[in-house]
């Protein structure tokens, strides 16, 4: 791997940048691997990286149907935070946030983590109760969290309309200062490059069409580029989790929905933190390129099309203008959609499946990006040890039959 640094950049500049080589090899699939990972998105690539880095398992292929990092890691609103309510979630996302904090150095790839703070606004007395409850729980879970009253919100983010005349006035907000955003594409590329350098084969344009299963045990996969044998296969395909599971012969309690996001035209810096609101449903941050990055909830219908409907957009912009009246004359430059797999408790499914050797990681719903390193880390451990990582254990598939849910739906944590 060519090491990245200011010095390397300078040196290559002198050669007109002709000296840079591929960031990851153009791999041709071999006949067999120790582990095959289905899905070359953020979580799949992270899994491959940590398999190689932490467990010395390098005979690994990542099979991607389309282009690397082309799924939800390419189309999210880049928010990274860990202020979840439940212990299980807080532990997982905080583990992930800690990995984020060193990720650029670990990968030797600047993923542009920007810890500018995330505000989750509260607009009703019940939201205030829920928010404070989450802050108190976060604090005891070692997750940095503060409650700001209305005045505190105004000080932290003067742009927010805290006027009492707002239809649902801002009554306060939770603040996680270590939360923020990251450059989403770079995360995929950084993991790909780092995994590749440790020997992982990253194979694009290779769709897994079926699973070879003998006696309840997976032995390999069928792909559009031929059969590949592997004693361990891991499915990491956000948006198509249940489709893949069906090909392997089991069912998952997942619903796939479009989730849209949009950006404004680039403007000079004006908003320095991430602002999220559930009651006035919108969330917004400003990227390093100057665009306001805006999202809200899912389209309510099921779909595999990576686009959504206009009413979802118009309502979230109404919400945006309520909170930020000066944004009204800005313009929507681009609006896109991804597909999110939503589980009944809005928490992911990470771990073993009914088929031996076949592992599943998905159902991250609307909030998978922030978990990327943590998810890959615990999933790699789970695959390597054939036993769930302690942080992954609560997110097993069985919980939907036992009832041991990690229900972030009703809980105070907002979407994303």
């Amino acid at each position: 791997m060519q090491r990245f640094s200011a010095f390397a950049l300078l040196a290559k500049s002198l050669g007109g940048h002709q000296g840079w080589s591929r960031q990851w090899r153009l791999a041709t699939p071999k006949d067999a691997y120790d582990v095959v990972i289905v899905g070359g998105g953020g979580h799949g690539l992270a899994t491959a990286y940590y398999l190689a880095r932490n467990h010395g398992i390098t005979n690994v292929a990542v099979l991607e149907k389309g282009w690397l990092g082309g799924g939800n890691v390419a189309r999210n609103t880049t928010i990274v935070r860990s202020n979840y309510l439940w212990d299980e979630s807080a532990a997982l996302y905080e583990h992930s946030l800690k990995l984020w904090e060193d990720l650029s150095q670990d990968l030797n790839y600047n993923v542009m983590l920007s810890q500018r703070g995330v505000l989750n606004l509260a607009h009703s007395l019940q939201e205030v109760r829920d928010s404070r409850r989450r802050v108190y729980a976060n604090q005891l879970n070692g997750v940095d969290a503060e409650w700001l009253d209305r005045g505190g919100v105004k000080v932290f983010c003067p742009l927010i309309n805290t006027d009492e005349s707002l239809r649902y006035p801002v009554l306060g907000a939770t603040l996680q200062r270590r939360a923020g955003t990251a450059r989403h594409d770079a995360v995929a590329w950084g993991f790909a490059r780092a995994a590749d350098s440790r020997g992982v084969d990253i194979v694009e344009n290779c769709e897994v069409t079926g699973f070879d299963i003998q006696g309840g045990r997976v032995t390999g996969v069928q792909t559009t580029r031929g059969a590949i044998r592997a004693p361990k296969v891991a499915i990491v395909v956000a948006g198509h989790g249940s489709v893949m599971a069906e090909r392997a012969g089991f069912r998952l309690p997942l619903e796939s929905h479009p989730l849209q996001a949009l950006v404004s035209e680039p403007i000079k810096p004006v908003l320095d933190c991430v602002v999220m609101s559930n009651a006035v449903h919108v969330y917004v941050s400003q990227s390093d390129k100057g665009e306001l990055v805006i999202g809200a909830g899912i389209d309510s219908y099921n779909s595999y099309a990576q686009r959504g409907s206009l009413p979802v957009v118009t309502s979230q912009l109404g919400a945006l203008i309520a909170l930020f009246p000066m944004f009204s004359r800005l313009k929507m430059m681009r609006n896109w959609g991804g597909i999110v797999d939503v589980s009944p408790d809005a928490s992911p499914i990470v771990g073993k499946t009914p088929i031996d050797g076949l592992y599943f990681n998905g159902g991250w719903g609307t909030g998978g990006f922030k978990a990327t390193p943590g998810s890959g880390h615990i999933f790699a451990h789970t695959i390597a040890h054939e036993d769930p990582h302690p942080l992954a254990a609560p997110f097993n598939l069985d919980r939907f039959s036992t009832g041991a849910l990690v229900d972030e739906h009703g809980a105070a944590a907002v979407a994303h």
Binding site: H123, Y168, A319, A322, L330, A411
Partner: protein
């Protein structure tokens, strides 16, 4: 068009007289960067500035290179300006689209301190150190420096214009429109389509982005046909101009933005600035035209380098010559007609440089006949002049001769890319047409219909023919008769030479840094080359790595050149590369227009009860509960919340209170199977509930978790009145309907929301009966005749009312339902009659305290979607015999665990301390580990859901969900919030009148 040689050629560009769109009798004064300029009515800001000799209008994003006007329309990547000031300001307006008006002020952006002297232009010198994605490879040494120095600097450099200061003073509107045939694009093809569809009798909507139909075609040989067509279409169709269809959605749904008054001076704008049209079309004809693309060569971004078609547009529409000594660089025939037009208008033509060799067609012959020097097989290899073109260097493609040619404008044309955006948004497939060197719609027999330049029908006659065919196809697909009579007799157009796909001028690698592909983002050929070298070969990867196509123009001019060069660099076939996904909007759309009227108070409807005005007059403070405004408390004489609530609570406990409970959801459930239905949706049994009796019910989701609760009364054998929580009323009705419609269609049950048919007035307190007796003198209200949990029809204050003896306070209580419009009368009668008994209106806060004293849970406050009825200690309300929604889930091993978090009461050791709601429960054995910040998690046993100071008890009380709580009665635990711990003892949830004698009496 009758452009003539201007009398006085000063600095180019200059205004030749006459332009289709401008009125040269009406000068308009505008200012740009503080300097005054005079344009003409009808000018765009760009044409006015060009006419005044302004060349540099902006700076590029990364290298801050001076940039001029490239295009004459929406594809413009360079000419972004800040329009207006203060709250009226608009960032990133395209000078090429902005229509000027008197007093317009515009300023350039992304430069400091001024456009001509921009200190950040120094980045141009550092360009070699800042290739695509350089930031991924550096700033890695120190997290602190990244946080404090590098990233803040990167952020400061980002963006173009500035957000306005203050709220938007203008209004936006939304309208819905339905039609048989929507025609997008009011050029010749669109006109022909609309005419054909109109002639079939279809309801037609024609939408054009420009202020006029058939923009810039006044000089066309088909002018007569066009004029007739415009007349007919304006009469027979709905024509929207200055309107952009920006989104194509499923099922014939289109969104368009109309710039209703942006072209007017501020003071002349009436009502609406922009209007969003939401259009449902049965058929659509896309006649969206094509976008000219630049050629890729060194310094192709210099001010004074124009798209050839733009030069033609500035001349035809505005009478502006972009140069007086012009070189054109092209790969296609269309540039020749432009050059000849410029020549006729008085420009000298230094040369036409054509990448093609051995040209034999009519266009070239005509140019040569005009005496124009045509250099075949030549390319431009450099442009001289930093802030204005001074000349070009040309070279033979075969590597032979080089020559410097002086000029003041360079026209370039790399051919035309059909504007396939809407076609693609709808899911249409594209195919590569080598003849056009472009991606075109893969036309299938099904809609949408395409016409004109969008599908390669260039030339007026082809556009008319194609447009007519598309329009009539759309109409006949709807069963309309085929239109008759396409009447356009047009001269044959000369046969030409085909364009040549040409993605870059071959240059040394070191010169690729100056070959711009995405002008706005400063993405160059070198960047694309580097991306491919580093393995980013998919167009989506190149886009994301180099930022090509990420600008406000979304790659309208640049993306195809990137694609062509990816194909060349990877040795691939362009036809096999897919363009990056076309996403809405086609052009940027104002947020305010998308939000429309859904802002301010209209963000969400405000619902108020029939008694709202009374509450306002009584000085109530209000709480938002769902969409409702509910009295929160009624402060008297400067009382605080706590003081008012204490007074209200004591009034209820000691005398009588009155509450507006109208917002509680009310659903009438009617039908032969009504009781059976309730049996399925409630956890408890309903079959045996007698007429006139009420029962408290709990509702679960499939997962066994509490969803809602309320009291339901049997009004008649086949008729129940269900009540729900205020916030959940709609969700409960949806829930009932979902089950009835999708799972149990066999049940004969009908559900009707009657929430705002009936106002609910609750009288609560030991003297409630006396107050009601005054209002209903003849009715026996004693416990024997009107027991707890029963219902009677009673005339109250002269109004036929439904009276329920139910209680949410634990006191003797009557809930009086009267028709909405009678509520004020009955309420005031109760206030009057109750005066003698100390009647006191109380709000939601007192209600919450009163119910907490009784341990009544509030679904959504004391529960959070993870609580079962059993967790609440309500096993008595969960039938073990019948089936109900959620029952199976309750049997799941984890859900049936005996040590789940359970609903308990907490009494603090210090009775004066009120625990903060949301505080986490920590057991005695772990409390020593609490210290903030917490390095490792402290086990949490639950949390405090409700917490108040109880005036009647003279101490604080709290309700909590605590792990294994039922078995921990008497244990002291700690409620922890913000690092503070409050000791409290676990006990029963009912703090007041545990036997219920007050309630039942």
């Amino acid at each position: 068009m009758t452009a003539t040689r201007p009398a006085n050629l000063r600095a180019p560009p200059v205004r030749a007289r006459g332009g289709d769109w401008v009125d040269d009798t009406r000068p308009i004064a505008v200012s740009f960067d503080g300097r005054a300029y005079t344009g003409l009515a009808g000018d765009t800001l760009a044409s006015a500035l060009l006419a005044n000799g302004v060349r540099v209008v902006g700076r590029s994003l990364k290298y801050h290179r001076p940039r001029g006007i490239l295009s004459a329309g929406f594809e413009e990547p360079n000419a972004l300006v800040q329009l207006g000031k203060g709250a009226h300001s608009e960032p990133n307006a395209l000078a090429t689209r902005v229509e000027i008006y008197d007093g317009m002020t515009a300023t350039s952006v992304n430069r400091w301190p001024s456009l001509s002297h921009d200190v950040f232009a120094a980045f141009g010198l550092l360009a070699r150190f800042m290739p695509a994605g350089f930031y991924y490879k550096t700033f890695l040494g120190s997290r602190v420096l990244w946080d404090r120095l590098y990233e803040p600097f990167l952020r400061r450099m980002a963006g173009f214009g500035r957000a306005p200061v203050g709220a938007d003073p203008e209004n936006y509107d939304q309208r819905h429109l339905q039609c048989d045939v929507l025609v997008v694009g009011g050029g010749v093809a669109g006109l022909a389509s609309a005419r054909a569809a109109c002639a079939s009798g279809a309801r037609v909507v024609l939408i054009e982005d420009n202020p006029e139909l058939a923009a810039g075609l006044a000089a066309s040989p088909a002018k007569e046909w066009i004029d007739v067509a415009i007349g007919v279409v304006k009469q027979d169709a709905t024509v929207l101009t200055r309107t952009t269809v920006f989104g194509a959605y499923d099922a014939g749904y289109f969104a368009a933005l109309q710039r209703a008054s942006d072209h007017l001076p501020q003071e002349a704008r009436a009502g609406v600035r922009q209007r969003l049209w939401l259009i449902r079309a049965k058929q659509v004809v896309l006649a969206t035209g094509a976008i000219e693309r630049p050629l890729v060569f060194p310094n192709n971004d210099r001010p004074g380098v124009y798209l050839a078609g733009a030069a033609r547009a500035y001349l035809d529409r505005f009478g502006v010559l972009v140069g007086r000594n012009v070189v054109a660089f092209t790969n296609n025939d269309e540039t020749y007609a432009t050059v000849i037009a410029l020549k006729k208008a008085g420009a000298a033509i230094a040369a036409i440089v054509d990448v093609r060799a051995n040209l034999t067609g009519g266009a070239v012959a005509l140019a040569k006949h005009e005496g124009i020097r045509v250099l075949e097989g030549y390319v431009v290899v450099d442009v001289r002049g930093r802030s204005a073109v001074r000349g070009v260097t040309i070279a033979a493609l075969d590597g032979g001769r080089r020559e410097k040619i002086a000029c003041d404008a360079l026209l370039m044309s790399g051919g035309w890319s059909p504007a396939v955006h809407l076609f693609s948004q709808q899911g249409g497939k594209l195919i590569y047409d080598p003849g056009m060197a472009a991606f075109v719609p893969d036309r299938r027999p099904a809609d949408p219909w395409c016409a004109g330049a969008l599908c390669g029908e260039t030339g007026v006659d082809a556009a008319i023919t194609g447009g007519w065919r598309a329009g009539s196809s759309a109409a006949t697909a709807l069963g309309k008769p085929a239109p008759r009579g396409l009447t356009a007799e047009l001269p044959d157009e000369p046969k030409g030479d085909a364009p040549l796909a040409f993605w870059r001028v071959p240059v040394a690698p070191s010169a690729e840094r100056k070959c711009f592909i995405d002008f706005q983002n400063d993405s160059t050929l070198a960047d694309v080359s580097l991306a491919v070298r580093e393995g980013f070969t998919h167009p989506e990867h190149v886009k994301r790595y180099t930022l090509t196509g990420f600008g406000t123009d979304q790659g309208k001019t640049g993306n195809i050149n990137a694609l062509g060069n990816i194909a060349e660099r990877t040795g691939g076939d362009l036809a096999r590369l897919a363009p990056t996904t076309f996403r809405p909007p086609f052009l940027p759309v104002t947020f305010g227009a998308l939000a429309g009227r859904e802002k301010g108070a209209l963000l969400d409807p405000v619902r108020v009860t029939a008694l709202h005005d009374w509450h306002v007059a009584a000085g109530a403070a209000f709480e938002n509960v769902g969409q409702w405004k509910r009295p929160w408390y009624y402060p008297k004489d400067g009382e605080t919340l706590d003081q008012a609530v204490t007074r209200e609570c004591l009034a209820v406990r000691n005398n009588v209170g009155i509450l507006d409970a109208s917002t509680l959801g009310k659903i009438e459930i009617v039908g032969a199977d009504a009781a059976a239905f309730l049996n399925r949706v409630y956890t408890n049994a309903w079959s045996k509930l007698g007429v006139g009796r009420s029962r408290y019910g709990l509702m679960c989701r499939e997962d066994g978790m509490l969803f809602d609760d309320g009291t339901t009364t049997r009004l008649a054998p086949d008729r129940f009145l269900m009540t729900t929580t205020t916030g959940n009323a709609a969700a409960v009705l949806d829930w009932l309907e979902e089950w009835l419609q999708t799972e149990w269609p066999d049940l004969k049950v009908y559900c009707t929301s009657v929430t705002d048919h009936w106002s609910t007035i609750a009288l609560a307190g030991p003297r409630a009966r006396e107050v009601l007796q005054c209002l209903a003198p003849g009715t026996a209200l004693d416990a024997e005749n009107f027991p707890f949990m029963s219902y009677q029809e009673v005339v109250v204050a002269g109004v036929a009312a439904r009276v329920f003896r139910i209680s949410f306070t634990g006191e003797l209580s009557f809930e009086i339902n009267v028709p909405w419009h009678d509520a004020r009368h009955v309420w005031e009668a109760a206030i009057t009659a109750g005066a003698a008994f100390g009647i006191t209106p109380y709000g939601t806060e007192a209600m919450h305290v009163l119910r907490a004293e009784k341990g009544y849970p509030i679904i959504g406050q004391d529960t959070d979607g993870t609580v079962t009825p059993l967790d609440l200690g309500m096993a008595w309300a969960v039938s073990t015999k019948k089936d109900f929604l959620g029952k199976r889930s309750l049997a799941r091993p984890d859900t049936a665990r005996p040590d789940r978090k359970q609903f308990v009461g907490l009494l603090t050791s210090d009775p004066s301390r009120v625990i903060p709601e949301g505080a986490q429960i920590v057991s005695e054995s772990n409390i020593a580990d609490v210290r903030l910040p917490q390095s490792s998690p402290v086990p949490m046993e639950g949390h405090v859901t409700s917490s108040y100071f109880s005036a009647v008890l003279g101490r604080s009380i709290a309700l909590a969900l605590v792990r294994d709580g039922f078995r921990r009665t008497g244990e002291t635990v700690y409620a922890v919030a913000d690092g503070h711990a409050i000791a409290a003892r676990i006990g029963p949830t009912v703090f007041y009148d545990p036997d219920g004698t007050r309630r039942d009496g």
